[in-house]
Symmetry: C2
Subunit: 345 residues, 2 copies
């Protein structure tokens, strides 16, 4: 292999018969270069196929134009939709992305991860892994100590922390109120794993919607799943046993709703006549379930994009070292999508 060595700024300078700073000025579009010299240098750059080294520049600039992204459960649908929003927006706004995936959802010792990002001088961090159990304890101390702007996705509000989140609570309420509007009285719920904040919020929405019309949500009316279709299957049959009057069910996500429909199909339960079903997430496939599934759509792509924008704001504010950076909580509303699983034609 021919060792075609990369030219450096020095080679360019020499070829153009100028100093390195002059080349540097051209690279950074500074005004103080005569247009002749500028032109000549540009030609040489072209000719040599010169690429400035981002690494060297970062070292001297102390800015990398790179964000660290922490994700988890990429093999599931949700997280990667968010990631997609992040990559798109970062690209448009001129930032690169260093990606790390948590080994498990509830990975607890994030300190090495943060250190890694720190040693790579990322300008900011996007924490796109879900909030589970106490896997957020760390930041109480660390996040200020780490001294890098950081934005969290979809977590419970805490002051001093910037957050972009879907309003899961109101999504849960919307779903349940929609079922109520159908005239159903016995509305069950299959929740996600309750150590997830999102799952708790959706469930709380269900509870409050029922309480609001004087129905007492009690323990025989719901069952806990783990987001997977498999768990939905199990939850559904458990629920059928302990809550046999159930005539509608709000399922914590679309994947679990899929297997609820399968169970109905296998056991001859008519949807929506005998049982109205609504999911959560709004994955594209839900429209093609049998029957088409009503659901609460959450725009994960927008979450990702907003997170990038907010982070850039944080970074830029941090630069005018004058004032404190003020954290923001941004909430995005989900939308109800009505399909055949909750509407009698």
């Amino acid at each position: 292999m021919i060792e075609k060595k990369k030219p450096t700024i020095y080679e360019v300078a020499r070829a153009a018969g100028v100093s390195r700073q002059t080349v540097s000025r051209v690279l950074n579009d500074r005004p103080d270069v005569s247009s002749e010299t500028r032109k000549r240098i540009k030609e040489i750059i072209e000719e040599l196929d010169y690429q400035p080294s981002a690494i060297a520049r970062s070292l001297s600039l102390k800015k990398t134009y790179t964000f660290g992204v922490v994700t988890a459960g990429l093999k599931y649908i949700g997280p990667s939709r968010t990631l997609s929003g992040i990559t798109r927006e970062a690209e448009e706004l001129g930032y690169g992305l260093l990606l790390k995936e948590l080994a498990s959802f509830s990975a607890n010792n994030v300190s090495p991860l943060l250190q890694w990002f720190k040693s790579h001088h990322v300008d900011g961090i996007i924490w796109a892994a879900p909030e589970i159990g106490d896997n957020r304890n760390w930041f109480s101390g660390l996040s200020t100590e780490i001294n890098i702007p950081i934005i969290f996705l979809t977590m419970e509000k805490r002051k001093a922390i910037s957050i972009v989140a879907i309003d899961n609570y109101s999504g849960g309420r919307m779903a349940t109120e929609h079922l109520l509007s159908l005239g159903r009285k016995n509305i069950g719920h299959i929740s996600g794993p309750l150590d997830w904040w999102e799952a708790r919020e959706r469930k709380r929405g269900w509870e409050d919607a029922l309480s609001a019309v004087d129905i007492q949500p009690d323990d025989q009316m719901w069952f806990e799943g783990n987001w997977s279709s498999k768990s939905g299957k199990f939850a559904m049959s458990a629920l059928q046993k302990k809550f046999s009057e159930m005539d509608a069910v709000f399922v914590g996500n679309d994947q679990m709703a899929l297997s609820v429909l399968q169970t109905a199909w296998e056991t001859g339960i008519k949807v929506p006549d005998d049982l109205a079903v609504i999911g959560f997430d709004g994955i594209p496939e839900a429209e093609f379930y049998s029957p088409p599934l009503s659901t609460i759509y959450q725009n994960q792509d927008e979450i990702g994009r907003t997170a990038v924008q907010e982070l850039i704001r944080l970074v830029d504010e941090g630069l005018d070292d004058g004032q404190e950076i003020k954290p923001r909580h941004i909430t995005i509303q989900p939308e109800l999508i009505v399909r055949q699983s909750t509407s009698i034609p």
Copy 2:
């Protein structure tokens, strides 16, 4: 905000009363440091919460321990499963990942992307975007010129290029042969978009399996989709019209198969009695379709992991500058999963 400046190697050295070099030796676990000094330095490092700068180190080492990853269509299921494999393996093997998502699947001008990776001195590149149309033309010239090891996922074999791919052709054959083994004679196909190499391969598998038993696959027996459930819906009804004898269908992916099942459900076609259906991909949800879907499982996670391993091999080989790096083609076999949609209980 208190400007807690990051300590550098110099601060550590001074605090320990040694030279920077000695600290560097400790950092890199070199043997030539007395155990006393080593211990003292380690304590200081701890005390100061010193983190070596990966950037500075990269600059001097000319190695970043970072790979560039190019993906596309992250919001779909497949690509992110592969990405997950990549992140996991890279983490375990001590590499960081710079992620870029192509704006569109068939994005054609990849040159800026490659330049960007180059300027960031990535040690290698994983091209995890699908091969579509002529979106691979570029590398014929560039890939050697770019002078960075690069490995491609799921693309047609070409010499001088390292590739890790699922055997889509044989997957297509397996699916079709399975339908034949059921005694079906009129086997249709809903393909993916035929500018995708993967879609063509699967279709070719279907054709060859039919030809092998003297059935002539002709144009009325298949229809082209675009991977989405929506397109599957359309393709199915088109196929029903032009191929009314169809008693089995091999669908190019599980998403499209989902809507094929929906159509059957809506129109009273019994699956598998009237129509046997098999998909491709093996997404976890397929088991919970109505009825459970037979499919060809491709282990995308393994693709990702293998790619990382291979790339590291390429990088390491490139280091012993002596010999040419020999590209490898690694093929992973998919597996048949039989469920109710092709088996009469």
